[in-house]
């Protein structure tokens, strides 16, 4: 028996190109359906876990999937903005607690999530190091952001410009890191949390600058009267909020029309959720209220329909592949007729020939299985990241 394996192994090593091709083909055909199943299970887990725990979302009327994906997973697709008036509407109803979200900006590749402290209580997140943000310009970062950027409490992180070519845009804001969240195994690990008002400063709705009444260099002042000081663009605007300049920060315009991307509405009970949803259906023309669970279930329904299609394609490919492998082996045996007859002439029985071929097939199958299994292990290790990149971002 061992002789058969030895001869089969020598044959395989001699015909290494053919063997490698066969191993790769078999591994790939076996890997695909399992990989698909792993990724779909993970995507279902990731998508549903947050959707189930987020009862209602209020946002601008439009694509409900964009609204849910942006609000729950901070995806790059941004829904239209709603205003702070939407918060007042939810608050005044006393049917739900509103948690605002503004997820327009990034710090490097990590989303900056403007929200209130209610978010952490709602998601049951705890601070691992430092404290939660308390002042304008402070940030609380996810565990992965801290690890990957090697950020510690007391460090700082800079907001990224929305557009590299927006030379006239607002200055990046240097945000002080005052705390690091405990690992949550969710997208929150990869986010930079700030107070909602800090995101408005990043946008330029609020800013701090030197006191216009005390400008020493008169060339910076274009005109001056009792009620109006017009300054040139040379006036110094602060790009970092600290104890010394916090007092100079202020907001312009009506705060009730400041933008948000969504509101998480946490209803008092099921009845409150139904009443609130009903109000949006009947009264709100520019806003919608969605149940993330329903939106994600619809999305997963579509994904599983696609999966069934892909399964069918994989099955056809697998059948074609099996036939091709059968053809490869049969052609190989035909080419090896002389070799087989030599073996028979040497006095070996037909069963020895069968053992020899069986050993070759077994070795190829084992190698293919090992390759498939190890690839699946690697996939399983990175499944969270892959699903985030493929289905969520």
């Amino acid at each position: 028996m061992m002789d058969s394996f030895y001869l089969a192994w020598r044959y395989i090593v001699f015909n290494r190109i053919k063997t490698i091709t066969l191993v790769l083909c078999i591994s790939l055909v076996s890997f695909l359906p399992f990989a698909l199943k792993i990724l779909l299970n993970e995507s279902e887990h990731q998508l549903m876990s947050r959707a189930i725990t987020t009862p209602l979302l209020v946002g601008a009327k439009g694509n409900s999937l964009d609204l849910v994906m942006n609000s729950l997973y901070f995806s790059k697709e941004k829904p239209d903005f709603i205003s702070m008036k939407a918060i007042e509407k939810v608050m005044d109803s006393y049917l739900a607690v509103p948690i605002p979200l503004y997820t327009r900006f990034h710090a490097r590749e990590y989303p900056i999530v403007g929200t209130t402290l209610d978010y952490f209580e709602f998601r049951k997140h705890k601070v691992a190091e430092g404290r939660s943000f308390a002042m304008l310009g402070e940030s609380l970062i996810g565990a992965d952001v801290a690890a990957r950027l090697n950020l510690k409490v007391g460090g700082s992180i800079l907001s990224s410009p929305e557009n590299l070519f927006d030379l006239a845009g607002v200055y990046p804001l240097k945000m002080k890191v005052v705390g690091i969240l405990q690992k949550t195994n969710s997208v929150d690990d990869k986010a930079v949390f700030v107070d909602l008002k800090t995101t408005w400063v990043i946008q330029g709705l609020g800013h701090g600058h030197q006191d216009v009444k005390k400008i020493a260099d008169e060339s910076d002042v274009l005109s001056r009267s009792d009620k109006l000081v017009t300054t040139s663009t040379k006036i110094k605007q602060y790009t970092e909020i600290n104890v010394d300049n916090l007092g100079s920060f202020h907001f312009h315009g009506d705060p009730s029309i400041y933008p948000l991307t969504a509101i998480i509405a946490v209803p008092n009970d099921k009845k409150s959720a139904t009443i609130l949803s009903g109000r949006y259906l009947s009264e709100q023309k520019n806003q919608q209220i969605v149940r993330p669970k329903k939106v994600i279930e619809d999305l997963l329904g579509n994904i599983f329909q696609i999966k069934e299609f892909i399964d069918a394609v994989v099955l056809i490919v697998a059948i074609a592949m099996v036939l091709a492998i059968f053809l490869v082996f049969s052609l190989s045996f035909r080419l090896r007729q002389k070799e087989i007859s030599t073996i028979l002439h040497l006095g070996c029985s037909r069963s020895t020939v069968v053992q020899l071929i069986g050993a070759e097939i077994l070795i190829i199958a084992v190698f293919s299985g090992m390759l498939c299994f190890s690839s699946l292990l690697v996939l399983q290790y990175f499944q969270g990241e892959i699903v985030h990149q493929l289905f969520i971002s």
Binding site: V97, L117, S132, F133, A134, M135, V229, T230, F251, H252
Partner: protein, 306 residues
């Protein structure tokens, strides 16, 4: 150990147990108490009057500053974040609020119900820079409680917030709220009568804090921007002299007791001083009601000397 010693030791143990039990009961009561923060004294007074012993009400800023312009530090804000409820005045009162992070669901805007009645102020300083164009720093008058009908609505808002937070204590809150409501409405009636009796008599305000008082009680009042403890500058006197030409007032309402020198100089111009304190911060003596009654008594003095 003899018998008397045993008796003494037993007594000590029993007393200690009793003391510890009593302390635990107290601790439980304290834990059950609502931890409320407010942004000014009138709201604190309303909350304390309605909640009684069921809440610990804190006004977090020092007593010698205007609460509207307090500049809290991160430690102060962390304290506020621990509150069960933070009662706001609304009308852009707490200028520090946009610079701090507080949990939204703990905030109660006591003037939200009448936000359409806020009085807008004319623009203060306007400037422009960068691509944002001209910016105007307009504001909102915030001493809403000086219109006692609005103060009553704010007190009602505090009452509703407390009842929502502690529905089991609703009966106690109702019992406490009714006399407060009655007292505020009585103040409103009394001031309405005084406003009517003043019949357009020209008045001055030392500080622009009397907008709601003027609007509700139809006072013919114009304000300058003076501080009671600071001597006005020459420029401020000039502004007043010009104002008196078109608004010949004989009385100036002050937030606090003005400096004697200022009083004498004003009298030389034919303007007498009376105190009408908004009591934004905790008073050294008395409470909201006693001070408002003093304010009204001071206004009545105008009628008597008219």
């Amino acid at each position: 150990m003899n018998r008397s010693n045993t008796y003494f030791a037993t007594k000590i143990i029993l007393l200690s147990s009793l003391f510890l039990t009593f302390n635990n009961v107290n601790a439980e009561v304290d834990e059950a108490k609502l931890n409320i923060y407010t942004v000014n004294y009138p709201i604190k007074y309303f909350a304390e009057s309605i909640a009684g012993d069921n809440a610990k009400v804190t006004l977090p800023m020092p007593g010698d500053i205007d609460p509207a312009f307090w500049e809290p530090k991160a430690e102060d804000v962390i304290g506020l974040q621990q509150a069960d409820m933070i009662l706001l005045n609304g009308a852009n009162y707490a200028k520090w609020l946009p610079k701090v992070s507080l949990p939204l669901f703990k905030l109660v805007n006591t003037s939200a119900e009448f936000r359409d009645s806020y009085i807008s102020l004319s623009e203060a300083v306007t400037h422009n820079h960068g691509s944002g164009g001209k910016h105007s720093h307009t504001g909102t008058a915030f001493t809403t409680w000086l219109d006692f009908s609005l103060a009553e609505k704010q007190a009602k808002s505090v009452f509703k917030a407390l009842s929502r937070k502690q529905p089991k204590l609703n009966a106690s809150f109702v019992e406490n709220f009714i006399p407060l409501q009655k007292a505020l409405l009585e103040l409103d009636t009394e001031l309405t009568e005084i406003g009517g009796a003043l019949n357009g008599e020209a008045l001055l305000g030392s500080h622009p804090v009397y907008q709601y008082l003027r609007a509700k009680y139809k006072l013919n009042l114009e304000s300058v921007h003076w501080e009671p403890e600071e001597a006005p500058t020459e420029e401020q006197w000039n502004v007043l002299t010009k104002l008196l030409e078109k608004h010949p007032a004989k009385w100036m309402l002050w937030e606090g007791v003005p400096a004697n020198e200022t009083v004498l100089k004003l009298e030389a111009l034919g303007v007498k001083s009376i105190v009408f304190s908004p009591t934004s911060n905790s008073p050294e003596t008395g409470d909201f009601m006693t001070i408002m009654h003093e304010n009204i008594a001071n206004l009545k003095a105008i009628l008597e000397k008219k």
